[in-house]
Symmetry: C2
Amino acid sequence: MTNRPGGRSARVRAVVLEATYAELVRCGYLGMTVENVADRAGVHKTTVYRRWGTVDVLIADALDSSRDVEWPAPDTGSLEGDLIAIATEVVDVFTDPARSAVPEAVVTAALQSSRARQAKKDFYASRHAQAAVVVTRAIQRGELAADTDAVELIRFTCAPLYYRIFITGEPIDHAAAERAARAALVAARAGLLAAAPNA
Amino acid sequence: MTNRPGGRSARVRAVVLEATYAELVRCGYLGMTVENVADRAGVHKTTVYRRWGTVDVLIADALDSSRDVEWPAPDTGSLEGDLIAIATEVVDVFTDPARSAVPEAVVTAALQSSRARQAKKDFYASRHAQAAVVVTRAIQRGELAADTDAVELIRFTCAPLYYRIFITGEPIDHAAAERAARAALVAARAGLLAAAPNA
């Protein structure tokens, strides 16, 4: 077995990690087993045990591999447009049961496993850094003060939507996405999301 | 057995619901059993089965009873002060493991049970309505436009903190609380949190 990209090892990893997400969605973190992941992937369970060992490692590796997938930041020409596009994508994912199942299962797993929690944290840090490009571009265009904390503006854009989804259980729609993006932007323009806050 | 407030029935409910939270924290929603709740409460399991039936009903009743507890909204004299006080309480709860265990277990349970999800939704709706008093008072003092959605301002105050706690797994502190409160307020003052948005 080799670790050549595109080789047999990479193909095994791809099918096993796909099966990991499918099992996570089907039974949740506490119901998942390495055996069921191996069965679903059509891979011998010894292979999965030897390479990953536990369900925690499988989930962490699945999240790591998602992190590696390039996520193209929107480029609408204005920061407001870009932030609305980012918020709208959150709404589109979480109002589509086929797309929301994995992130919901991951948040649940992270509440039950410190390994999954770390992998989820790394995933969001990576995604935030990719999304923050829209803010650094806007700073270069002179749309926003140079000391704005780009990642903080992304967090504030997404937070009101995740709050409804995971905490209050209230509905979200595109109007909520626009509202979240505009509220975050007005806070940034007011200097409240500066990189070195006067705390 | 009667339903007199303060009677035997109320005392049984109090010990059983306390045991429900303790078991929820100890084993999570999927690990909880009616038997273990009864054992911990020192109540015969038949009593718990007859009155509540399932773990779901126990959790929902525990949340309902928390909802009934009066939560005194802050009254610092300014809306900014009140919103910072609300955000600071969120930080204080979630940076204290003894206080954060129950809400974390409830969010997890709600991801696994529709009954718990509804109870949690009702809980936050009730808490939001209580907290929104600080906004309606500020509107009466002329600090804010009358068409501000009071509950939406509370949501935007809390959301960036919950986003760090439950989604990104990033730390929170009092500076983050002040930032969240001030960002929400500046969005409200800009008319972005109006009750009837131009969506």
